[in-house]
Amino acid sequence: MKHTISVLVENHSGVLSRISGLFSRRGFNIESLAVGPTQDPTISRITIIADGNEHTVEQIEKQLNKLIEVIKVKTLSKDECLARELMIVKIACTADKRSEVMTIADITGAKVMDITLTTMTLELCDTYAHLKRFEEIVTPYNILEMVRTGTIAIQKGAEVIAPKK
């Protein structure tokens, strides 16, 4: 089962390696990991998608909390979670296919970033599931290159994940 874990950490060098090291040495599976600064420049926020049962997720939370530079850990439940991930895909596409691909982009919400005589590059920012469907649809056009970020997520509603005052 997949879990979305939000982690607030000190914005120090080496923090990411402590976190990824913790996952590998304790045998936790990371599906994706995305990190970036927050509105407070001393704090970074990491979103981890991890696979495991409840016991594993409890251990992940507890072990993360033991790291000195980890300020806060919260596992977001599916219903309270707004999640996005970004995909950029370059597909083989000559003039005869362009309008087909444009239709797909229109329906799926993807944007055309770049175009050449033989290729088209599309970007799509959406949920993991939507990106997966989009990938299936463009696969027949011969994907030349694909790149995606990890998922980032935030809680629905007014509640926030913030360091304790």
């Binding site: 080496g14 090291g21 409890e58 251990q59 507890k62 909390n65 033991k66 530079e69 980890v70």
Partner: protein, 541 residues
């Protein structure tokens, strides 16, 4: 006050009341050593013969003093040699602060001479680590390092200081307080949960307390003894919990686990409520925790929330410092009796009998029992790893005021002699005895020089059987007797070796020499070594 960072490092140690440091110099840590020289009246530097042993000595010192202790190494191989000691301290939750030199800041990452990424390499085994690049951060980093090492669940903290940083100047002021927003260990237990734990213990018909190393870490020895006696609850320990209770205590039933004693293991099997205090239910202590949690109600106190529910499910989890939680329980608990349960457990306490040993050897368990009865009550005994460790853990009779140390979690061979040196220096009024086999001794005997040089009068008992006894036994029983790479032919004459260091030594091969050795070990306060010949086929259990 303006000063060089190297001098500020020394001032930090003084501010932390550090009197002894264990280390091994090298180019990258020389600025600090130079500054340390000016503080020799305040801080004694002990030159060990291998960096790992500096870490083990700090470990022994910390366990007896109850406060973080310091070891030092240079960059590269000096630092990587420390890793085993860091991992050992991590596994046993021992507070040490390790200071390493690093190559100049502008050279980091270019594979220069004696460069190693020690903060990276030691990461899995440290509670926290710092690579100090800005001298202005130095006072805060040192203050935090000692605070992190010694509070919450204790553990090793590493501070890596590049050589050029050691030479830079800063305006030094040691901070009085620490505020780390990501580190606020819970010490006070939840009041309602404490009440629930207590009533579960009161409702039990066959309660049992299992003590781990956490009781030492929290200095809760007195509280757990009082609680056990007030509620008349039998007590067992893990290997790390040995010597919280004296073997003379009628409520004490010994060490549990795969190398434990029958009375302790039967108590675990038959109890209805098991109260774990600062014990992490390691695999050597409880082989089948899943089976145990099905049949037994588990109450678990630990200061580290991650230990609760990690290896065994707890019916009553309780995060907090054992001393604080147990004091609260003591106030609320009413006196109880469990006469029938205790009488039943007493039937598992069988008197020891010893088989006669082959010619030229003695029965190691018999020797252990006799020696321990003769040793002063407050002796610190440091067991190494292997058969000698189990014979000490289960055979050495701990008296009130005695202390047992070993590298229980990591099982690090070569721990006993350096740890004994540290233990003795932490409290020179106590006799300290290292007990090891001829395998481990050959990983650590270079520290005889350290003991001689610094006049550290420890006693060393080497049990020799010319083989790695526990591995040999494993091969004999688990690999159809295919014994390989376990015989130590080529070992030196240990008596001559000791004498080469100017250390008094004696060999035990029969009852007469056994009595002579016991007299030497229990009566002299001099540095001495006793070799005890045991049969290579002598069983661990």
């Amino acid at each position: 006050m303006k000063m060089k960072a190297a001098q500020a490092m020394v001032e930090c140690l003084k501010a932390e009341n550090i009197k002894v440091v264990y280390g091994y110099p090298g180019a990258a840590i020389c600025p600090f050593y130079d500054a340390l020289m000016d503080a020799e009246n305040d801080i004694k530097h002990v030159l060990v013969r291998h960096e790992a042993n500096g870490g083990h000595a700090a470990n022994g010192f910390a366990r007896i003093s109850g406060k973080p202790a310091v070891c030092i190494a240079t960059s590269g191989p000096g630092a990587t040699n420390l890793i085993t000691a860091i991992a050992t301290a991590y596994a046993d939750s021992i507070p040490i602060v390790c200071i390493t030199g690093q190559v100049n800041t502008d050279q980091i990452g270019s594979d220069v001479f004696q460069e190693a990424d020690i903060t990276g390499a030691a990461e899995p085994f440290v509670k926290h680590s710092y690579l100090l690049k800005d001298p202005k951060e130095l006072p805060r980093v040192f203050k935090e390092a000692f605070y992190i090492a010694g509070t919450g669940r204790p553990g090793p903290v590493l501070i890596d200081v590049p050589m050029d940083v050691q030479k830079m100047e800063l305006d030094f002021e040691y901070p009085e307080t620490v505020d780390i927003r990501g580190y606020k260990p819970t010490t006070k237990g939840n009041y309602l949960q404490i009440k629930r734990v207590l009533s579960a213990l009161e409702e039990a018909h066959k309660p049992l307390i299992c003590i781990g190393g956490g009781v030492f870490a929290s200095h809760a020895q007195q509280e757990i003894k009082e609680l056990a006696h007030k509620m008349e609850i039998p007590v067992i320990t893990t290997m790390m919990g040995i010597s919280v209770f004296s073997d003379d205590d009628p409520l004490f039933y010994g060490m549990l686990g795969m190398h434990g004693v029958k009375s302790a293991n039967m108590a675990v099997k038959e109890c209805d409520v098991l109260f774990l205090v600062g014990a992490r239910v390691g695999d050597r202590a409880v082989r089948t925790p899943l089976a145990l949690e099905k049949t037994t109600k588990i109450l678990h106190i630990d200061i580290d929330p991650a230990e609760i529910g990690k290896n065994i499910g707890a019916d009553y989890p309780l995060v907090g410092d054992a001393k604080s939680v147990l004091s609260q329980m003591l106030e609320m608990a009413s006196p109880m009796e469990h006469k029938e349960w205790i009488a039943h457990l007493d039937t598992y306490k069988t008197p020891r009998t010893f088989v006669a040993a082959n010619n030229g050897t003695v029965n190691p368990r018999e020797f252990m029992v006799k020696l321990s009865k003769a040793m002063p009550d407050n002796t610190v005994v440091v067991a190494d790893v292997g058969q000698n460790q189990i014979w000490t853990a289960t055979g050495y009779h701990i008296k009130e005021g005695g202390r047992f140390l070993t590298a229980g979690g990591m099982g690090t061979m070569g721990y006993s002699v350096p740890a004994a040196i540290g233990a003795r220096m932490a409290d020179p009024s106590r006799p300290v005895m290292a007990i090891c086999g001829d395998g481990a001794f050959q990983m650590e005997f270079m520290e005889l020089g350290t003991a001689v040089q610094h006049g550290v009068n420890i006693k060393i008992m080497v049990m020799t059987n010319n083989c790695l006894g526990m591995v040999r036994e494993l091969q004999a029983n688990g690999y159809n007797g295919r014994e390989t790479a376990v015989y130590l032919d080529g070992s030196p004459d240990f008596i001559k070796l000791a004498e080469a260091y100017g250390i008094q030594a004696l060999r035990v091969t029969d009852e007469a020499s056994m009595n002579e050795a016991i007299k030497l070990l229990s009566e002299t306060d001099q540095l001495c070594l006793v070799e005890v010949r045991v049969d290579e086929k002598a069983a661990t259990l």
